[in-house]
Structure formats: C-alpha cells, structure tokens
C-alpha cells in the first residue's frame, strides 16, 4: 500500500476494484464502511460479483471478468475528455502523459461498454466521482493481479491515481491489499528469484558484492525461476531437488494435475510444515515446524508495518521454529548459522536491508514501524511518494486492453472465477481445523446465478460437474445472485473440490502470476 490502513477511513472517495474486502480483509472492510457511514466518503465498486461492499457503494460497475484494463481506460478517457484530471500534478510530477492520452483516446465510454457490458453513463458517473474527490484511494487485490494481463491492470490503477494527483497524499494512493500475513515481508526479505533483501537485484554486481561480504559466500548472478517456472522445470526434469517451507502447491497452484506430476518427478522433495499437507504427502522428507504462536519473530503487513510475533505456547513434540531448522540444516551442510534468537537474525537484517535498517525489536515492542525506516531515529513512513516518486517522476504507461487467455466458447460456455470466502484461508489447513469456522462454512460451494441454474435445471444444493480443458470436478451448487449470469465462482479452500484442477496456468508475462480469475468451463447437473 502507498497509504496506511488508518488513512482509508478519511479518504473522500474509495475505488474498490478486484477486492472482496469484507471477506478477505474484513478489518479493512470495516474501515471502508466507517468511511462511508461516518465520514461521507463516496464508494465506487468495480467487480463482476455482487460482493458485500456493493451494498455500501454509490455506484457499482459490473464488468465482464478479465476486462479491468478496458474499464479503467474508460474512466481515464472520461477524466481527460472532461478536463477533470490534476493538470498541475501531471505537469510537475509525472512523465509519459501524452503517449498515454493517445492510447486512451479510443476507450470512449461507448467503446468500453461494448467490451465490458457496463453502461456508458455509469462509466462517466464513476469517473466523475473518482476525479472530483480531494483524496481518493484505490483498493485492489487479486481480482486485479491474477490475470494474464495483471501487470497492465496494476499499471492502469497507477495511471488513474496519478492522473488525478492521487499518489503521495494523505488518504490518496494505490493500495494493494495483500492476502497473506507476511507476503509483504517475504518479498522484502528477498524470497524472490531476482532480488536480494530490499529488492536489491541479484544481477547487480555491487549489490551482490555487498551480500557476499556480509555472508562470506559467493553468490550466483543469474536470476532464478519463479514458482510456476520451478514446477515446469521439475516436470521437465531440470529441477531435481525442491525444498518447500510452509506452502501447499498441491492445492494453491494452477493446473494441479501438472503440479502433481512435477512433484512426483523430483529426486528429492523436502516439505517443512505444521501439518502433513497434500504436498507433504508426496514428500521424501517432512520437517515438523512450530506455528506462529510457538515462536518469536516479525510479520510485515500490507501497509509495510513490521510487527512482532511472540511465543505464547510450546511447539508440539519435536517440532521446531523454521529459523532453527534452516540454521541447523545449513550448519550440517558446512555453512554455520548460529543465531541465538529471532532477534539476532533481525540484527543481521537491519545491517543488510536499507529499508529495515531502523526497525529493531526494541523499537517495535509496543507498536510496529512502517518501512522505509532507514535508521534508528526514523519514525517510519506512513505513505509513500510524498514529494517525489521513488524513481523521480511518476511514469504513465500507455496500455492496450487484451482479453483473457481463455474465454468462454461453445464447448466451455461459462467463465470460472476463483477466490476466498470469509471463514477460510487459502488451502484451509488451519481454518478447517477450527470448529467455529467449519460450523459457519463446512463445505465448498460453486456459486451459480439463478438464471443459469434454471437453464441447467439445477436447484440450490444440487451437485454439478464443472469441467475445463485441464480437469473436472463435482461440487455442490449454491444458487445465488452474487455471480453474474454466465459466470461460476468457486473458492480454492477445499481439497475435495480443488478448483485449481480447472484453472488456467497462463501467466502474466511480467509478473508471472497465473490467471486464476478467468478460465472457461462447462457446467452440467451431476
């Protein structure tokens, strides 16, 4: 997030696109609702599904799945056409405006309406609402990123925000809501194939040299493979050993049949987790780890706030904290790691990670600090890009709409889109072991629009077979107005109706994110 969570409540307008906030980030959902109920903020919701926030929206745009670039381009077209953009801000703080303007010219509300199915007048109304707000916050989540054009979607959000002077101000910004407790931190710490901690490029000689000195080791210069590429390489036999810590790709990755074949093709699969997951079941070695309540450390939240995790109870049996397991294994392999505590590791992180340099356990004892926090006196950073962008000028990108890789056709006539539900989390290894949550949501349901249900001849609670080009599964149908006609929604929490048997592994060319949000399926009464 460029802003902080606390700022959302005081934004004049909120544009929520591709985020089912009240289910996936419920506490932020409450902030949005407070902004509307108590502070008179305007809310624009852009989502194919009738999500919870729709009830609070001033206007709801319901585009066809996979058409975010078109709808965002339509908003910008109106804002430029009607002269509603922040001319001074664009002139002083950005570059690339003219090229973008040219690319946007054809995205008139009428043209966008043809692509998205949203009425032209609604596009105009939403554009004015967003542009006329003094501070406007764009909230987005995986509904924007998990597309074969996810990077274009994100850049379109950034374009829109900069166009209206809505980056680098209190309450105005581009705010991805991160879906996992420490996905921000895992990225910050360099658990990515192309960067070291704090996004220092592995290909950069200077950055590498710094880490080689700090770690007394020589480091490879060639960027590595991403998760989907790793699976492909394992499938081909190029990756022979895979060490998985705290992930469950046998449920979470796209095209599970392919993933299973890839994992079975390995010479060595090590899985380190708190439960024997679907992935662990295929492993050669399973290492039992402590869960968050059994160890010390830090998580970094979606607003870049580094916060303490504290040990409350002992780990069961011989389970150990992940940092202890890695240290002991490393030492066994001849590279000594002898940290006395999690805090000792943070001391090392402070030394090599400029944005975390001032974030020590002592300083975050009571309240977390937001990076960048470059030294021990720095108060942390509430919102980013205040007076100038990290790169200097904000760069507009000219973007053309591309349809999703797979769209419905005669054989597979429905869109399938996927996501989470309020009561479960990701592959549900934790939430499905919690009595109350299971009570509230005991099984996987495929949401089917009532009109589609009628055509399919099914009632609420009937089983349906959902089939894509990659697989097929049987699931109970929930006949409900939430998805639009022609679109099925499924969550990916339940292994027995693993929706990722169906999803398309088509990747965004830059972000390498799979297109979970759109694929084509057929649906039949089972």
């Amino acid at each position: 997030m460029t802003n902080s969570i606390e700022e959302i409540e005081f934004s004049d307008a909120i544009l929520a696109i591709g985020t089912n906030t009240t289910e996936n980030h419920p506490v932020i959902g409450s902030c949005v609702k407070r902004a509307i109920r108590q502070h008179g903020a305007k809310l624009i919701v852009i989502d194919p599904r009738k999500i919870g926030l729709v009830d609070y929206a001033d206007i709801w745009l319901r585009p066809k799945p996979g058409t975010n670039v078109a709808i965002l381009s339509g908003l910008m077209n109106v804002i430029i056409e009607e002269g509603l953009y922040a001319k001074e801000y664009v002139a002083e703080r950005t570059e690339g405006f003219e090229a973008m303007k040219e690319a946007l010219a054809k995205y008139t509300p009428e043209f966008v309406s043809e692509i998205t199915g949203v009425a032209a007048e609604d596009i105009r109304t939403a554009a004015r609402l967003y542009a006329e707000a003094k501070s406007a916050s764009i909230l987005y989540a995986m509904g924007v990123t998990q597309h074969s054009h996810g990077t274009d979607n994100v850049k379109s959000c950034a374009n829109l925000a900069m166009l209206c002077g809505n980056v680098g101000i209190e309450g105005g910004g581009v705010n991805p809501l991160r879906g996992q407790n420490n996905v921000q931190g895992a990225c910050d710490m360099g658990a990515l194939p192309n960067v070291l901690p704090a996004y220092q490029q592995v290909a950069n000689d200077e950055a590498r040299a710094k880490f080689e000195r700090a770690w007394s080791a020589s480091l490879p210069a060639k960027p590595g493979l991403t998760i989907i590429e790793i699976m492909d390489a394992a499938h081909r036999g190029d990756i022979k050993g895979l060490y998985i810590m705290g992930e469950n790709p046998m449920i979470s990755d796209p095209d599970l049949t392919h993933v299973e074949a890839a994992l079975k093709n390995l010479d060595l699969l090590i899985v380190q987790d708190i439960f024997l997951t679907e992935t662990g079941g295929l492993a050669d070695v399973v290492l039992p780890s402590a869960c968050f309540a059994e160890k010390d450390g830090t998580f970094t939240n979606t607003e870049r706030r580094v916060q303490r995790v504290r040990k409350a109870v002992d780990a069961p049996g011989g389970a150990k904290a992940d940092w202890q397991i890695i240290s002991e294994l490393s030492t066994k392999m001849g590279y000594a790691m002898s940290y006395a505590s999690a805090e000792a590791i943070m001391d090392e992180i402070n030394a090599v990670t400029p944005s975390y340099a001032g974030i020590t356990y002592g300083r975050i004892e009571k309240e977390g600090l937001q990076w960048p926090c470059p030294n021990a006196e720095h108060p942390g950073t509430k919102y980013l890009h205040r007076d100038k962008f990290s790169r200097g000028l904000g760069l507009f990108t000219a973007i053309e709409y591309r349809p999703p890789e797979e769209v419905p056709d005669e054989e597979y006539p429905f869109f399938l889109t996927t996501g989470r539900v309020l009561y479960h989390f990701h592959t549900a290894t934790m939430t499905r072991r919690s009595e109350g949550l299971v009570e509230r949501c005991p099984e996987s349901l495929a949401e089917v629009n009532p009109k589609d249900a009628e055509k399919l001849g099914i009632k609420d609670g009937d089983f349906v077979t959902v089939t894509s080009r990659r697989g097929s599964l049987k699931v109970k149908a929930s006949v409900i107005e939430t998805p639009p006609e022609g679109t099925i929604f499924m969550n990916f929490h339940f292994g027995e109706a693993a929706v990722n048997l169906l999803t398309n592994p088509a990747l965004d060319p830059v972000g390498k994110i799979p297109e979970y949000k759109v694929c084509a399926v057929k649906v039949e009464a089972a």
């Binding site: 969570i5 710490m189 480091l219 810590m245 979470s252 979606t302 916060q307 490393s330 989390f425 072991r433």
Partner: protein, 354 residues
C-alpha cells in the same frame, strides 16, 4: 480553536478543550468516574447513569459521559448525592439479572462486580422477578446469556459503529427490552460474521467465548500480544494462554494501529489448529514408499547428503526452494540466504503470486 475552558472538578482547577465531556476531562486528569455503558470511540448514550456527577447550579445530577464542559463549571464526582444515586443504579442492575459470579466466566474481570465492590453494596435490595431467557449455546463460538445482560448497548454500538456489521440492535421495550440480531434470531442463524467484538465489549458475563468456558479464570490467563497469522492486515491481538494452551483470542484497543481493536472471524476463532492432534511432531523420511518417523539428526544427515549429491551431479540450479508468505521475516531472510549462499542458486520464490 485552541482556546481552553477553565473548570473545577472536586475542587481541582482544570483547563480543557471545548467539546470535551466531563468524563473525558476527568479521566485525562486522573479523576475516577465509573462507567458501564460508555465505550470509547462510539456514541455516548448516557444509558446506565452510573457516571452521574453533581454540577453546581444544574437542576439534577448529570451523566458525565454526555455532558460537554463549559467555562466556569464546578463538578463534584463523589458527593453523598452522587454516591447514593450511583449505588441505587448498581443495586437495580444487580437485582434485575442473574448475576451469579460462582460459575461466571467474567468473575474477576466484570465491571458490574467491580462496581458492587467499589460502592460497598452488601446485597441487592430489590425483589425483581427473575428473567427467564434460555442460554443461547447453539454455536461453538459465542455463548449468549441474556439473563446477565445489563442493556448497556456496548455490543450494539461496537457492531454498528466500530465493525459496521450492522447485526445487533435493541428490541422490545421496558423490562422486556433485549439485545440481539434482527427478528430475535440466534447468532448462528443471523447474518452475524463472528468477529467477536461484541464479546470484547460486554462488561459482564452476558456474552462469552464458548470454547474458553471453564478453561481458565481471568487471573489464571496470560495474555500474549502478537500479530494475527491470517491475511495481510496484521491485526494486533492477545493470545489468552491458560495451562499451556491458547484458550481464546481477545483484543486490546490500546494497541492502536492497524486494527484499533477490531478482528475478524479467522483471527478470533481460527486458532483451534494450534492444538490440533494432527500437528506434525517429528521428522519423517520416506522409506520403502512410506513416510516413517526419524530423529532430527538422521533427517538432517539424509537431507544434507541428498542435496549435496544433487548439487554435485546436476549443479546448484537443479535445486529450488519455496519460501513462505506465512512464516516470519527472519525465516524468509534465512531461507533465501540458505538457497543463495549455501546451495548456490537464485531459484527461490514463494506464493506471493498465488
């Protein structure tokens, strides 16, 4: 704007800002006024009258939580008249509900119990026909005993004004007044999303966390301040530990950002997994096709040798590692360090994209 008003409370001269209530000013200045219905951050309703004080020249006692200060105001918080009124209010509350502390989860942490003690009330002085609500225990998360409810409305306000779930409200009138979801539905049948904030807000034992019942009394519980392990909001919360087990999750609004005391159903009720019998307790190595228990020493030996032999035969880039968005920064840092410095590959990623 910055103009201060002068007033006295219990003879002490105080300066405060216009718009502040007597209660706020008193608390800022270390002067105790008890409250029940007052809940910071929500509308001041003045419902319980426990916070009444005497204001010079006022016609009657005033509810300090609702009364804004004015210049020259003279406030007394502990006169005979105030204490008599306060005592009467508490005595009526005690008389009109089933306040049996023996088996109550709130014993030792109950605001009504505290007031009875503070005001030295020996026993309830009124004969009031007992309420006969049946206890709602139809879900495993929140137990509701309306016989203990004092109708302070804190649960209603936290549900509508803080979490904005808009589920709870008052219904009926007079002695039949009660609090709950629309149409008198039970929590589990209503559109309640089980954030549990109403339980945190309840000053008495009317709303309690069901799973924690009889697992530990307030003074036996250790609260460990930590960060929720689910989504990216990073809610601050307290794991309540008794007898070496996490028995419930509560919040502390004093922790402030990012969640200001709010939680969702996952953070609140998604902790059973910690103590699940399915937890892995020992390393496993696949032998003859079966995963079999092994010691750490044997496992480290096995893994180290295998990794070294793959690296020797096929090069470091034939090995890859998936780190995790679920574990700590310290562990992610070590994992990528291990892959890069020890194995010698940049093939390290995690599920950021999934």
């Amino acid at each position: 704007m910055d103009q201060k008003l002068s007033l006295t409370i219990n003879g002490k001269a105080i300066e405060a800002s216009p718009g502040q209530t007597i209660l706020e000013v008193a608390r800022e200045n270390g002067i105790h006024i008890p409250t029940l219905c007052y809940y910071k951050g929500t509308t001041n309703v003045g419902a319980c009258r426990v916070c009444v004080v005497e204001v010079e020249n006022a016609r009657s006692l005033v509810a300090s939580c609702c009364m804004p200060i004015s210049h020259g105001m003279v406030v007394m918080t502990n006169t005979e008249r105030v204490l008599t009124a306060r005592k009467l209010v508490v005595e009526l509350l005690w008389s009109s509900g089933d306040h049996n502390c023996l088996q109550c989860e709130k014993n030792g942490n109950c605001e009504l119990q505290d007031l009875v003690y503070e005001l030295g009330i020996e026993k309830p002085g009124f004969e009031i026909a007992p309420l006969e609500y049946s206890i709602e225990d139809t879900n495993s998360m929140i137990q509701r005993d309306l016989n203990k409810c004092i109708l302070c409305g804190r649960c209603v306000r936290v549900c509508n004004e803080i979490q904005v779930h808009e589920v709870l409200d008052f219904s009926m009138r007079g002695s039949r007044a009660k609090v709950g979801p629309a149409f008198d539905e039970s929590y589990i049948d209503s559109n309640c999303v089980f954030c549990g904030s109403c339980v945190d807000a309840c000053p008495v034992g009317a709303l309690t966390f069901k799973q924690a019942r009889f697992k530990g009394r307030p003074w036996e519980i250790e609260k460990v301040h930590t960060t929720c392990p689910y989504c990216g909001v990073g809610c601050q919360m307290d794991l309540n530990v008794a007898d070496g087990k996490v028995i419930k999750v509560t919040t502390d609004r004093e922790y402030g950002r990012p969640n200001q005391g709010m939680l969702c159903s996952k953070g609140r009720f998604g902790m059973d997994f910690i103590d699940s019998p399915d937890r892995l307790k020992t390393p496993l190595i696949r032998k003859n096709g079966e995963l079999q228990e092994a010691s750490w020493e044997e496992t480290y030996d096995y893994v180290a040798k295998k990794l070294a032999s793959i690296r020797k035969k096929s090069g470091p880039d034939s090995i890859a590692g998936l780190s995790s968005a679920r574990v700590t920064n310290e562990e992610n840092y070590l994992f990528q360090k291990f892959m890069r410095a020890v194995i010698g590959t940049n093939n390290v990623d995690h599920c950021a994209r999934l």
